[in-house]
Amino acid sequence: MIKRTLSLLLLFGLFSAEMVLSATYRFAPLPMQDPERVVREIQPMLQYLTDQTGLSFQIVYTESYQDLIDRFQAGEVDLTYLGPLPYVELSSRYPHVDPLVVFREPDGEALYTCALVTFAGAPIAQGAWSQQTFALTQPLSTCGFLATSHLLERLGVSLGEMEYCYVNRHDEVALSVIRGDFSVGGLKTQIARNYVHLGLEVVEQTDYFPGFALVANTTTLSVEHQRLIQETLLAVQPIDQPEQAAIVAGWGPSLRYGTAIVMDENYAPVRALRSETPIPMECQQP
């Protein structure tokens, strides 16, 4: 009897382990990013995780942060890469989230800033901000309405009264400003710097926010696997361990500088800012 029970348990355990080891998790990148960038920047990291953990990952594209949050709640996404505001928004709606790691910035810090950008070829005079148009990422993007309005307040401009529109992606914000579709854009400073060669100029930037984090859906991703993924990524510290540079060489710019532990408490400033700033969900254009 005991033998049979043990055998069954062992079989179940093996089966479970097989199931666990062979699990495929759904990863949703930033909603704003184009698929090519996602493949180029995210896929290598996912492949590394697969190689190290035996877990498989499937990329699931979402249309917007809202879409991402909805699908997270629906249990259709197991992992995602979120900025602080989307995380705050997600966690406020769906408590079964856990930031596993936060990706470091090129300087090694696990923080980032948002920037206010213009086209250097079409500078904005000091008092002309109120006549400008603003390109924002997404409503729930940290560098979207939240950070941009915060930065414009410094300049005495209330974004709520301006003409703005959500162009979804940080790259698109930059390109739309370069193209002249909008005169001003709000995006992640790091991304803004990618377009400096096209004349994009950073006018203002925020204080540091927690960096983008790998967020787990704790209802669909087992604790064991959460820890496994966390430990695997925490083990990669190319800044501290240059020999690991080869591991991350193919990873996206926002992912290749290592990771750090992050806790929900680290998002308090963002929560505070969010509580103060109502975020419109729609574009405001004449």
Partner: protein
């Protein structure tokens, strides 16, 4: 029907060849049409591809010309290139981006993926797709950029990029004579694919990229977008999962199925490695799909990718279907033809086999078979007929019969061919004699009839059977019957069980039994009772074992007379050795036997005294000498001659003398005892042999007593007669070897000495004196010398016919003309040569010189054959006949009839079969043989009967005393009778007087020789003697 293996193999081979040719032709036709179809399809795909490529090229050309090469754009580009600071350049770049973005945005929604400006140094200046990337060196992996910057000419090429591949249209940009760099417009394969599908919706297009083109260029992060193609391991499929929006449309399920079927098969591998256009086929769900591989070359002309066009190819399927259908029908047709050919061959072979069989029948016939056509010419002839006609086939066929054959018949004439043709004679059957063209005649049985075909006469057919052998057999049978009937010997034929089947008349004459009285009876009815049962058992035993028996049987005639029958019984057997009959040849030899017995008696016993005669004495003496030699005893040979006996005959007559001789014989036997051998030698001569056990004196005493008894008077017819005897004695053994004849001669000589010494006494032979006498005989070496020195001479003694007086021949007799001792007779030297090779040499000398002499006489018109004495040693030589033939050939004028060879009885007895053969062979040369000294030897009647001697020469010893000695006369009469019985000629030797000759003629002896007629004379004396003889010959024919 079946055909021979060879024919079957040929038919099968031809079928396979035809099948191969048909298949090759149909396949070639199929492939030809397929090739044309494929060509068209390829052209279609190429056209669609080129059209798509060209259309995009044209579009990009227009765009570049209309949009990019506008001054403001070029100036912006130039400003950026010549900017001295990065911010300045960045602004210029941004402005350029801003200026072209609307057009790019419009074009990017319609296939265009990328607009990229290149600096003159080959670095990327501005990208519209992935604008964040810039400044990277393109020259290493973008040959098109390099070529444009170098040549300043537009370039269109398919190249891999950092993420995806695409069709690159690169144009140089110049402003105010300054080379600004170049601009590139990239179109993803998706756009080309879409356009090609629009141009040719029947095909589904996919791109397979060469791994070696992608991997060195594409960002490794994008490797995950590429999957290895199942068509070839070196080719990749780009983003089949459509990760990127403008990636090529992935293969459909059907295309995937096709690819699985073509999964890296050798043909696919080979096709894709050629870098050439190639068409493959696959079957999916019962439909034929064609896969046209169109190579995409880079600027170096190397294949970097394949555009694969997948399309249902009903036409190819139809072609394939047509091929197999045509092949099937063609094969069916070939099989039908094969079967037809097979049947034709089988029929033909059957016909040929039947014809061969018929030929075999006609060829195997023992009878001759030939056919004539309507013109009487040979149209068919079988081997037996050719053999009978003695002609070859080419000599016969087509030739008229009457030119080759001629018929002879005793009855009906064999009808001419035309008669046979016309059917005048329906069937002719009979015997005929065929006269062949070579002259040979053949008895044949002919059957001939007209030859009909389809009711019309087409010729004739004749069957010939050679009956020559049968005819001969019939003749032999007739002859045999004649022989059987007329034979002098009785013939009895029995079955194997001895029951009599047939007997001839001679049998009846002998036995007294007619055929009817003995038919089916056993020959034992003739038994006389003189033979015991064992005799007949032995006879049958030999008959059964040896198949023959020969001997003498005492039988009884029907009348009861007992007679002696000579029988030769032979078993007649069949091929298996089984006895079919017994044939017995019988003859009554009673009288002959009696004659023989008489003769034998006469030959060995003195008929008057019944004492052994000289012949028997000699035999006994030889035997006793052997005993004496073995026992170491002694014998005494006595030669006794009555003194003055002639007076008794003269006074009282021969009858009284004979009676006295008889008494003398008895007295001698009485005196010497029954154990003593006493013989009468003839006349008044007796001989005796005493075996001595004791001293010589004892024997001499006996001799003395003998003399005394001999001298006592005899009483004959009441009258007293008194005679005495002279006795010569020789003793054996002697110091030198002597034979019986020598002992007799010694005793004879001693007897004469006793006579000369006064008679009525005995004299012992002086051996010493004899040795001296014998010394007179020369040695062999001297004789050899004599032969070499030609010291021998031939003397010739004539032989005459006493009836006619004619000289019938001469006998050659050798003499030795000794230089010291004069002419020596043969008795002085011949015995020395006895059994020596010199004897044969001398014999040759005699023959040669005798024939030479005969040839000489012929020249002188003296025609006399010569008789030559031949010794036994010479006769027994294997090449004797050849030697005689050679001697005759030496004298061209002579032939065999000129030579007679005289041989002694004893010389024949050695190897009688050889002697018989020699004599027969010589007779074929016409050389005759005479049996010399007949009566002095011993030979059975059987030998005498078989001996083919022509002449019997009666020994002179019988002739010389025939007038006085009735015994010799009786012997002579016996010999004459025997000679008559065996049909031999007789010549008497030793004819010394006319009276001898006269008596001989009365006895029937015609021929004679002797001293009375003529002594042996030299050859040169013969002519004179002939002359004198002819004057007064002895002639007793009156």
């Amino acid at each position: 029907m079946i055909i021979r293996r060879n024919s079957a193999l040929i038919v099968i081979f031809l079928f396979l060849v035809a099948q191969g040719l048909l298949t090759a032709y149909l396949y070639q036709s199929w492939q030809g049409k397929q090739g044309v179809h494929e060509q068209r399809q390829v052209q279609s795909v190429q056209t669609a591809y080129q059209a798509a490529i060209k259309s995009f090229q044209l579009a990009t050309e227009v765009y570049v010309d209309e949009v990019v090469r506008q001054p403001e754009i070029l100036q912006l580009f130039q400003t950026g290139l010549i900017a001295t600071s990065e911010p300045e350049q960045a602004i210029a770049r941004g402005q350029l981006y801003r200026a072209l973005w609307p057009s790019y945005q419009a074009l990017s929604t319609n296939s265009l993926r990328q607009i990229q400006f290149h600096q003159p140094d080959g670095r990327s200046y501005l990208r519209f797709f992935q604008p964040e990337a810039w400044g990277d060196d393109l020259l290493a992996f973008r040959p098109s950029v390099r070529q444009v910057l170098e040549t300043r000419e537009p370039v269109a090429a398919f190249e891999a990029g950092l993420s995806l591949t695409g069709f690159r249209y690169v144009y140089p940009l110049d402003w105010e004579d300054q080379a600004l760099g170049s601009v590139e417009l990239s179109v993803p394969f998706r756009a080309v694919q879409t356009l090609m599908r629009e141009l040719d919706p029947s095909q589904d297009y996919h791109l397979y990229l060469k791994r070696s083109m992608v991997e060195p260029v594409v960002n490794p992060n994008f490797f995950v977008l590429y999957r290895e193609s199942c068509l070839h391991p070196d080719y990749l499929l780009e983003d089949p999962g459509l990760e990127l929006p403008d990636s090529p449309l992935p293969p459909s399920v059907q295309v995937q199925g096709i690819n699985q079927q073509l999964n890296a098969t050798p043909p696919v591998i080979a096709a894709m490695e050629t870098g050439q256009t190639h068409t493959l086929f696959a079957q999916i769900e019962g439909q034929t799909w064609s896969v046209i591989l169109l190579p995409i070359k880079d600027l170096r002309g190397q294949t970097v990718a394949y555009v694969a066009a997948y399309g249902k190819d009903a036409f190819a399927a139809a072609l394939r279907h047509d091929f197999f259908v045509n092949l099937l029908f063609g094969t069916a047709l070939l099989v039908a033809i094969l079967l037809l050919v097979y049947r034709l061959l089988a029929s033909r072979e059957a016909l040929v086999a039947e014809k061969d069989y018929q030929h075999a029948i006609t060829d195997s016939m023992a009878e001759g078979l030939y056919a004539l056509d309507r013109q009487g010419r040979f149209s068919f002839v079988n081997p037996s007929a050719l053999s009978l006609l003695g002609l070859l086939e080419h000599q016969v066929l087509g030739q008229p019969e009457n030119t080759l054959l001629e018929w002879q018949t005793t009855s009906d004439t064999v009808p001419e061919p035309l008669d046979r043709l016309s059917g005048a004679v329906r069937v002719y059957q009979g015997e005929a004699r065929l006269l062949r063209s070579d002259g040979e005649q053949l008895d044949v049985e002919v059957t001939s009839r007209p030859l009909y075909k389809n009711g019309a006469t087409t010729g004739s057919v004749t069957l010939l059977r050679d009956i020559s052998e049968r005819k001969r057999t019939e003749e032999r049978l007739l002859l045999a019957a004649s022989v059987f009937s007329s034979a002098q010997e009785g013939i009895i034929i029995t079955r194997p069980d001895a029951s009599i089947l047939m007997v001839n008349d001679a049998f009846t004459q002998i036995t007294g039994y007619s055929f009817g009285e003995v038919e089916e009876r056993n020959p034992s009815l003739l038994q006389s009772g003189r033979h015991d049962r064992e005799f007949y058992i032995q006879m049958w035993r030999q008959l059964v074992s040896d198949g023959w028996w020969k001997g003498e049987i005492w039988n009884r005639t029907k009348e009861g007379r007992v007679y002696l029958q000579s029988s030769t019984i032979t078993a007649v057997t069949n091929a298996q050795g089984q006895t079919l009959h017994y044939v017995g040849l019988v003859s009554d030899i009673t009288q002959l036997k009696q004659h023989q017995q008489e003769l034998e008696y006469l030959a060995h016993y003195d008929p008057l005294t019944h004492l052994p005669n000289r012949v028997l004495l000699h035999q006994r003496l030889v035997e006793i000498m052997q005993q004496v030699q073995a026992q170491g005893t002694r014998l005494l040979v006595g030669y006794l001659d009555l003194d003055d006996f002639k007076e008794v005959n003269d006074v009282s007559g021969h009858e009284t003398g004979d009676l006295l001789l008889k008494s003398m014989g008895s007295r001698l036997q009485f005196v010497l005892g029954q154990d003593a051998l006493i013989a009468r030698l003839g006349g008044d001569e007796f001989a005796f042999i005493l075996q001595q056990q004791d001293a010589l004196e004892t024997s001499l005493d006996q001799v003395k007593i003998l003399l005394e008894e001999t001298a006592k008077p005899f009483l004959v017819h009441g009258r007293r007669f008194k005679v005495s005897a002279s006795v010569g004695l020789s003793i054996y053994p002697q110091s030198t070897e002597v034979d019986a004849d020598q002992l007799m001669r010694q005793a004879d000589q001693a007897m004469y000495q006793a006579k000369q010494a006064g008679k009525n006494r005995y004299q012992i032979f002086d051996t010493e004196l004899d040795h001296q006498m014998r010394g007179q005989y020369e040695t062999l070496s001297r004789l050899t010398e004599a032969l070499e020195n030609n010291e021998f001479r031939l003397f010739y003694q004539p032989k005459v016919n006493l009836m006619t007086g004619d000289v019938v021949g001469v006998e050659a007799l050798i003499r030795w003309q000794h230089p010291d001792r004069g002419l020596l007779p043969p008795a002085f030297f011949l015995s020395v040569m006895d059994q020596h090779p010199l004897e044969v040499q001398v014999s040759h000398w005699v023959i040669r010189n005798a024939l030479k002499q005969v040839a000489e006489w012929k020249k002188a018109d003296i025609h006399l054959p010569v008789s030559v004495n031949i010794c036994a040693q010479h006769l027994q030589q294997p090449d004797f006949v050849a030697q005689i033939e050679h001697h005759l050939a030496e004298q061209e004028s002579l032939c065999g009839t000129d030579l007679e060879l005289e041989i002694l009885e004893s010389s024949v007895l050695g190897d009688i079969h050889h002697a018989f053969k020699v004599i027969n062979d010589c007779r074929r040369l016409q050389v005759s043989f005479a049996l010399d000294d007949f009566g002095t030897g011993y030979s059975s009647l059987a030998y005498l009967k078989r001996l083919p001697a022509d002449v019997i020469k009666i020994d002179q010893s019988f002739v010389r005393d025939m007038l006085d000695d009735s015994d010799d006369l009786a012997i002579l009469q016996g010999v004459m009778g025997l000679a008559r019985a065996f049909e031999r000629e007789v010549i008497a030797e030793g004819v010394e007087t006319y009276q001898h000759a006269a008596l001989l003629t009365q006895l029937g002896c015609r021929l004679a020789q002797g001293y009375g007629i003529a002594r042996p004379m030299p050859a040169e004396d013969l002519p004179a003697w002939l002359t004198s003889w002819q004057v007064s010959p002895w002639r007793f024919n009156d």
